[in-house]
Amino acid sequence: MSVASTSKTKTAAQGEGGTSGRRGLPRGGRRREFTTRRGLQIAAFMAPAALFVAVFTYYPMVAGGQMAFRNWKLTDLTDTSWVGLKNFRDVFADPAWGTVLTNSAIWVVGSIVPQLVIGFALALWLRRRFRFRGLYQALIFFPWAISGFLIGILFRWMFNSEFGVVNDLLQKAGLIDEPIAWLADPKTAMVAVLIANIWYGVTFFAIMILAALQSIPDELYEAAALDGAGKARTLFQVTIPYIRTTLALTVLLRVIWIFNFPDLIFGMTGGGPNNETHIVTTWMIKITQQGDYGRASALGLLVVAALLVFAVFFLLATRERKRVTQ
C-alpha cells in the first residue's frame, strides 16, 4: 500500500466518525473500542491469575495476619478467641526483645556494608577483560545458588573450635596459639555468622553492580580521560553517579532480604549461645516452634511494618538526592 493510499484511508475513517470514540480514539483505528463484552473477556482472561494471587498470596496473608490478634496456639486450638493487642504486648515484654532488636541492626549493617564494598570491588575487577573471565564470574556467583540453611551448616562445621578448618588455618598461619571457641562465645558467634553472611551476599552485589557497570557507555570514560580525571575521580564522578539507581535499589532489596534471612543463623547457631545471636526472624521461628502462632504472627506484622517504613523513607531519600543532583 502506498503512502498516499494510507493517508487516504485514514482521512476517510476520520471523515466517517471523526473523533467520536471514547478517549478521543479514532473509530476504525488500531485500538478497538472498549465494550462491555470486551471488558468481560479481559476479566475472564485475568480471572485465573487474579484467583491464584488471591488464594495463594492474599488469603494466607490475611489469615495469618488475623492470628496476631487471637489466642492462636497450635498446642490448643479449642480456644482461639480474640485477644486484641495482647500478642504485641507479649512481644515487647519479652526480656530478650532488646537483644533481638540490637542483633538485627548489627546483622543488617554489619552484613550490608562489607557486602557492598567487596561486591563493588569484585564487579569492577570482573568488568575488565581477561582470560577465563566467564569461569571466574561463574565461580564467584556460585554461592548465591546454594541454600542459606546449607551454608549455615557448612560454616557451623568450619567454625567448630576443635574440628573446624578456620581454627586449623589460623593456628597453622601462626595467628592464634589456642583454638577460638567461635560459636560458644556470644561475641565471637555474632562475628562468625556475619563473616558467613558477608561471604554469601557479596555475590548478589557483584552480579547487580556488574550488570549496571556494563551499561555505562565507554564514551563517558573516554571523555573523563580527556578531561584528565584520575581513577578515583572517574569512579566517584562517572561510575557511581551513573549506576546510583541500581545501587540504591540493590541496597534496598538487600536490607529487606537480610532482615528477613534467618536461614543462615538458624543453621549455624540456632540463635545461641544463650539467645545472643537471635535476630527478629529467627526469634519468630523460635516462637513458631513453641506453637504460639498468634505471637509469631504479631512479630511478623511488626517486621512488615518496619520494612515498609524503611522502604518508603529510603526511596524518598534516594529520590530527593537524585532531584538535587539533577
Binding site: P48, D76, L77, T78, S161, F163, Q290, G291
Partner: protein, 433 residues
C-alpha cells in the same frame, strides 16, 4: 476463534481449581488409597518404609498406600497444617511430643475400640503397651520403637587412663572423663550436649540422682507431688554436670548438638558419649576408631546406683479426619507386629517393641547388649514416663536449653537453675488444674 480461546482458558482455569480441591476417595474398583505421612524422615528409612508398604499392599490388594515424606525439620509443622485442614492424612507418625497437643486439638483418632482383642498386644513389651495408652486409656498411636540412652565409651582410652571398667555412675563418669581429658593433645573426656536439646541430658542426670523418689507416671514429679527440681539432689546433680563440662569437655561444646557430639566420638577425639542406639550404626562406620576400641555400657546411674531411663518414643496413628479408618488401622497393625516391626526397629537402630527381640542374637551381642542389660534389670534402670506430651513441652525445651547454656557460660548457678525450673513446673501444673 477468539471465543474458542476464551472457552479454553476458562476451562483450563476451572480444571486447575477443581483438581486442587479433589480428595482421595475409593475408586470404582473398590480400591482404597491411604495417605501415610512420616515425620522423622531420612532417605534410608523412607526406602525401608516403602518396602514394608509394598508387603502390606501385597497382603491387601484392595488397599494402596501413598507415602508422604516431608523433610524432618518441617515434617511436624507440615503434618499440623494437614491435620488442621481436616483431610489428606490417614496414617501418620505420632511422637510422644506431638501426641498431647494433636489429640487435644481433636486431630487424632482413638484406636482403642478397634484394637481391643488384637493379638499384636500379646507380643509387645510392657513398655510398648504402656506407651500406647495415654493417661485416660486412649490409644492415639502404637509405638514402633524406643529411643533410650546408653553410654558409648572408648575401651582403649579408659584402660590407658588406669580404669578397668566403664563408669557406672555420674560421679564416676566425671572422674574418668576428667582423667582422659587433655585439650593440648586434642583428646577430650566427654561429648557434652550444650546446644540443641541440651536440656535432655541435664534432666537425665537429675532423674538419676533421684531415681527411687521419682513418680513412675511423671518423670519430672517426685512421689511426694513436688517437682524433681525441688530436691537437694537436683542441685548436686547439676553441680556434677557443670564440673563435667568444665573439667572434661571441649570448650565449644557450649553449642554442640547431636551432629557435633556424634562426630566427636566417631572421629576418635572424645572418650564418652551419651546417646540413643541409632548412633551405633554411625559409630560402626567410623574409619577413625575400630570396633575393638569402643563399646556401650548401660546409662550411668546416680550415687545410689539406680537411674531413670528417659525413654522417648514415636509410633503410627490414624487421623480423625480419615475417611478410611478401618484400612488405616489395618496398616498400623501390620507395621506394629511380626517381621515388619522387627525389621523396622533393627534397621533404624531402635529399642524394639516386641518381646521376642530379647532372644534375637542381633540384640544380644555387641553394642546392643547394654540395652538388653537395662531391660533385664528394671529395678535398677527404672522406666518412667516423661511429661513430653504437655502443651508447654516445646516452650520448656527452649527455655531449659538456654538456661543450660547460661549455666555452663557461668551466667547462673546450679542452685538458681534448679530453683527456676522448680518454679516453672510448679506454676504450669497449677495452671493445668
Amino acid at each position: 476463534m477468539r471465543r474458542r480461546t476464551a472457552v479454553l482458558a476458562l476451562g483450563t482455569a476451572a480444571a486447575m481449581v477443581l483438581t486442587g480441591c479433589s480428595t482421595m476417595s475409593p475408586g470404582a474398583s473398590g480400591t482404597v488409597t491411604l495417605n501415610m505421612v512420616e515425620s522423622l524422615t531420612n532417605p534410608a528409612r523412607t526406602d525401608l518404609l516403602k518396602g514394608l508398604i509394598a508387603d502390606f499392599e501385597k497382603q491387601n490388594p484392595k488397599i494402596k498406600v501413598n507415602l508422604v515424606s516431608p523433610p524432618t525439620e518441617q515434617a511436624d509443622q507440615k503434618l499440623q497444617q494437614m491435620l488442621q485442614s481436616g483431610s489428606g492424612v490417614d496414617v501418620l507418625e505420632v511422637r510422644d511430643i506431638t501426641v498431647g497437643p494433636w489429640s487435644n486439638n481433636g486431630w487424632l483418632y482413638d484406636m482403642k475400640k478397634d484394637l481391643d482383642g488384637w493379638k499384636g498386644w500379646e507380643g509387645m513389651t510392657e513398655n510398648a503397651v504402656k506407651a500406647a495408652q495415654d493417661a485416660k486409656g486412649r490409644t492415639y498411636f502404637v509405638p514402633y520403637g524406643f529411643y533410650g540412652l546408653s553410654l558409648f565409651y572408648r575401651t582403649d582410652l579408659i584402660r590407658k587412663a588406669g580404669f578397668d571398667k566403664p563408669p557406672a555412675t555420674w560421679p564416676e563418669l566425671l572422674k574418668q572423663a576428667a582423667a582422659i581429658h587433655d585439650p593440648a593433645q586434642r583428646r577430650y573426656g566427654y561429648a557434652f550436649r550444650g546446644g540443641a536439646n541440651g536440656n535432655s541430658n541435664a534432666t537425665a542426670a537429675i532423674e538419676a540422682y533421684l531415681a527411687d523418689q521419682v513418680d513412675p507416671a511423671n518423670g519430672f514429679k517426685l512421689k511426694n507431688g513436688r517437682t524433681i527440681f525441688s530436691a537437694p539432689e537436683a542441685e548436686a546433680a547439676m553441680e556434677n554436670y557443670l564440673r563435667l563440662f568444665r573439667q572434661a569437655s571441649p570448650k565449644s561444646s557450649v553449642s554442640w548438638g547431636y551432629p557435633e557430639m556424634v562426630e566427636a566420638f566417631s572421629n576418635g577425639s572424645t572418650a564418652f558419649l551419651l546417646q540413643d542406639p541409632e548412633v551405633i550404626a554411625t559409630v560402626s562406620e567410623s574409619k577413625s576408631i575400630s570396633k575393638d576400641q569402643w563399646a556401650t555400657a548401660p546409662l550411668v546411674a546416680g550415687p545410689g546406683g539406680k537411674t531413670v531411663q528417659p525413654l522417648a518414643t514415636a509410633g503410627w496413628g490414624v487421623a480423625k479426619g480419615s475417611k478410611n479408618k478401618a484400612e488405616a488401622v489395618k496398616l498400623v497393625q501390620f507395621l506394629s507386629q511380626g517381621e515388619a516391626s522387627t525389621s523396622f526397629t533393627k534397621k533404624n537402630s531402635l529399642v524394639p517393641i516386641l518381646k521376642s527381640a530379647t532372644n534375637d542374637p542381633f540384640y544380644k551381642s555387641g553394642p546392643w547388649s547394654s540395652y538388653v542389660t537395662m531391660t533385664e534389670q528394671p529395678d535398677t534402670y527404672l522406666v518412667v514416663t516423661q511429661p513430653r506430651g504437655v502443651s508447654w513441652w516445646a516452650e520448656w525445651q527452649q527455655k531449659a536449653d538456654t538456661e543450660v547454656q547460661q549455666l555452663i557460660l557461668g551466667k547462673t548457678t546450679p542452685k538458681k537453675l534448679v530453683a527456676g525450673w522448680d518454679a516453672y513446673w510448679t506454676e504450669k501444673w497449677q495452671q493445668e488444674k
